[in-house]
Amino acid sequence: MAEPGTAVHRGRFGASMRRDAWWVELVPVVLVLGAFSIYATWRAFENNYYEWGPYLSPFYSPLLQPSWWPFSPAILILGGPLGFRATCYYYRKAYYRAFFLDPPACAVGEARSHRYRGETAFPFILQNLHRYFLYVALIFLIILWYDAVHAFFFDGRFGVGVGSLVLLTNIILLSFYTVSCHSLRHIVGGKVDCFSCVAFGGPRHKTWKGLSFLNEHHMLFAWLSLFSVGLADLYVRLVASATIQDLRLL
């Protein structure tokens, strides 16, 4: 469409009349997502130090070790949680902005003209499968809850270590992240136009309202659970590699 003829208004990359440091919000996304990806990849391939006592690293859960698989067991299962996060409506926003600069920030010009097809064509059309990753993530959630509870039993007897609390915190944050998912909100009630016309409309409406409230904080849970899952793994690694000692509280 037409441009007003001022040089300042043209669509060069980063061209903007914005006075604020719009790029500031990109920096933490690039750093944290970047660091997490590197750490997670390294850990997945490491194939070591993922278990100690009742603790199992979330990167390796569920622990599948078929005899025909020569590599790290993490690689077998990481696709689930990774896919859930990669197709997550919040993370999409974050990485489209920070890594694809499409757009870098609101009302800031994009890098030269490139062919833009959004989520209408491969690969990003696959984002539409988010709900299936949600189903997978819900299964993982059950397994990780099992792991978290398991982490309170040392040789069959109840006990509390720092690791138990770390894994518990992690699964709580993961639960918030998962149930605040946009797709879940849709499935539970978002698709209903008339709650007063459908079966179980009352409870569905209540659930939908509750999930909508959580959904407003989806970004927060996305970041908190990303940190917690990374730190939970790190904690298990440190303990398993005997770098530190797990502290028994009870």
Binding site: M1, T6, R18, P103, C106, Y116, K191
Partner: protein, 248 residues
């Protein structure tokens, strides 16, 4: 109180133009639109500006103040750094007519594509407040077109032909989620309004002066409905089994 503020305002038309400088005395509570009126009344009588209600209810006075898409009637001078000149430019995504006035007629053409509200015959006109609440959020839209202006699909990629823009996703959401409406618009969303071009980067939500959660409450739920009808392999398979085509 009577300090002056400097404004750099785009003056020009579709052939081009430049930023011109104006001095305006600052009064308490003053907004950018007041400054534009002052300039009209004292320095540039032909300065073209759209405005109506001056109370944030009609959505006429959209422009870019210091590079940010804003309603000028709700942008207070005491929220701006007045030590430097305030830049006011027309919305970038629409062709300039003159000064701050742009040609927004494309929006009205998009609106015509959307099938209107339709209720089944013999419906009883009763509605539950719970069901109405959700749709009322979308009905708050004042059509300032700031969301259309900031959306990079229109602003940087010029997909006006393929893409309807956030405003019209809000409008469709208001119809689709109306408790008594019986028309399906998922086909329209997918093919005519190109909802797939939206990569949910949320600038529309950031600029909405009515605080409509455009991305989370309108666009994403609509994307999910389009998925229901077009991209969900299991649903597709089930539909094939049942041999009927739900709304697609």
């Amino acid at each position: 109180m009577s300090a002056n503020a400097t404004f750099n305002i785009f003056r020009g038309d579709r052939l081009g133009g430049e930023l011109k400088e104006y001095e305006v005395p600052v009064a308490p509570g003053m907004v950018v639109l007041d400054a534009l009126h002052y300039i009209q009344g004292h320095a540039a009588p032909d300065l073209a500006v759209r405005w109506n209600c001056k109370a944030g209810k009609c959505g006429s006075c959209s422009a870019e103040v210091n590079g940010k898409p804003r309603l000028t009637c709700k942008t207070r001078l005491d929220d701006l750094p007045l030590a430097e000149a305030v830049t006011v430019q027309p919305m970038k995504s629409f062709p300039v007519i003159k000064d701050l006035v742009t040609d927004v007629s494309w929006n009205y053409r998009v609106n015509r594509k959307i099938p209107p509200f339709h209720a089944p015959e013999s419906v009883e006109w009763k509605m539950d407040q719970r069901d109405v609440d959700r749709v009322q959020e979308f009905r708050k839209c004042i059509e300032c077109f700031l969301c259309q202006n900031v959306c990079h699909v229109l602003r940087d990629h010029s997909k006006q032909e393929q893409f309807g823009g956030p405003r019209f996703f809000v409008r469709v959401a208001g119809l689709e989620m109306h408790p008594l409406d019986d028309v399906s618009r998922t086909h329209l969303l997918k093919d005519e309004l190109g909802i797939g071009y939206c990569n949910i980067t949320k600038c529309c939500t950031e600029v909405c002066p009515e605080d409509i959660h455009i991305t989370d409450n309108a666009i994403i739920p609509l994307k999910e409905r389009v998925i229901d009808d077009y991209y969900d392999p299991v649903r597709w398979f089930l539909r094939k089994l049942k041999g009927k085509n739900n709304g697609a």
